[in-house]
Point group: C2
């Protein structure tokens, strides 16, 4: 595709290492996004990239090297933190950031596969991928928070982590199963109920102090 074919028939290929490497990385992204990590292997990657598997080993060592290179790739994770306009109080800003992230996650099959696989296998490159993602997420949250401060008397990072975990699980689950806990995640009605529940939780969790703190 990107490499102009030569004149000869069989053993052509343009002898461009950089191009081959980027073709391999692009194929890895495509492969993970389409088939996930279960079938992510040397042979499949070589076939997807249209090159011999020995080149993958020569350039990246092994599949973990490919993942590491993928994680180090600039712009691999969701890029623009400027999606959310910092307005309103802490809760409103967090809710806005949350919804923007939810949309981005729903639209990114590769990120979904990575998050799913992290729950199954604990490998070093996956850990690196997650750390890179976590760092990007942190700076994103910082930018979105701006000068707003969380209400006193609550553990905002923990609350945000819980709601983020719920978003991850529900998003990942929608890809394989329709229902969860009696709700139908596939229908627009079910998704609307989930969204409303998230809004409700954000609003209530970060509401102005009203009652006693349920600490023990």
């Amino acid at each position: 595709m990107t490499v102009p074919k030569s004149t000869k028939a069989r053993p052509v290929r343009a002898k461009d290492r950089a191009a081959t490497e980027s073709r391999i990385l692009a194929a890895a992204r495509r492969l993970i996004g389409r088939d996930g990590f279960a079938g992510f292997g040397l042979n499949a990657l070589a076939a997807e990239a249209g090159c011999d598997k020995v080149l993958i080993r020569r350039y990246f060592g092994d599949l973990d090297g490919v993942l590491t290179a993928l994680g180090g790739d600039v712009g691999f994770w969701i890029g623009d933190p400027d999606v959310v306009a910092p307005e309103g109080g802490y809760g409103a800003r967090m809710a806005g950031l949350f919804e923007a992230y939810a949309d981005a996650l729903a639209a990114d099959p590769v990120l979904q596969r990575v998050l799913s696989w992290e729950l199954v296998e604990a490998s070093v490159p996956l850990r690196r991928l997650d750390e890179a993602r976590g760092r990007a997420m942190g700076t994103w949250m910082q930018a979105a928070k701006g000068d707003a401060v969380a209400p006193p008397g609550l553990d905002a990072p923990a609350i945000n982590a819980v709601l983020l975990a719920a978003l991850h699980y529900l998003t990942l689950r929608t890809r394989t199963l329709e229902g969860f806990a009696g709700l139908d995640l596939a229908t627009p009605e079910g998704q609307a109920r989930i969204r409303a529940a998230f809004r409700w939780l954000f609003a209530r969790a970060y509401a102005e102090p009203t009652g006693g703190e349920p600490d023990a």
Copy 2:
């Protein structure tokens, strides 16, 4: 183990189909709990059960048949709904049920593996397993709820589903990765913060009506 060895040396084995079947199912549970679904195959299961793989095929058809039989097994999923004493209001009862379920899930590696694998692969027997689990969970929640009713003006099933999703994700993630969203899930402090955040969210979500409802 359960089958008394005969006198002869090699081709003994007691010719007891029922015992062999239960040995296979027990081996499947052990295998899934230890290694997960990634290495769950005919050969591994036969080795774990100490029988020939052809017997697995003869008795269960294929691996999916084994999973189906596992799901139909009585007491495969968490059994006793009487853990939670139905007391207090709706929110308190749900929070109590929630914590009991959290402890049970944390102590059940097989259930964790099933929940993880459901996010990766969408196979029919896994769907059946999930449906059985969902039904057990539903009756459990019904029993725990008792005669309490949710406060009006909110979608209690959706809110419960969100918090349950968060519990699932955080529990599954703790098995492979230490941190999430800046929190350290491995330390008792991090787990205490998560628990406190859950309590906070339950208390706030189901608190007596205080302010405006954040519906859109």
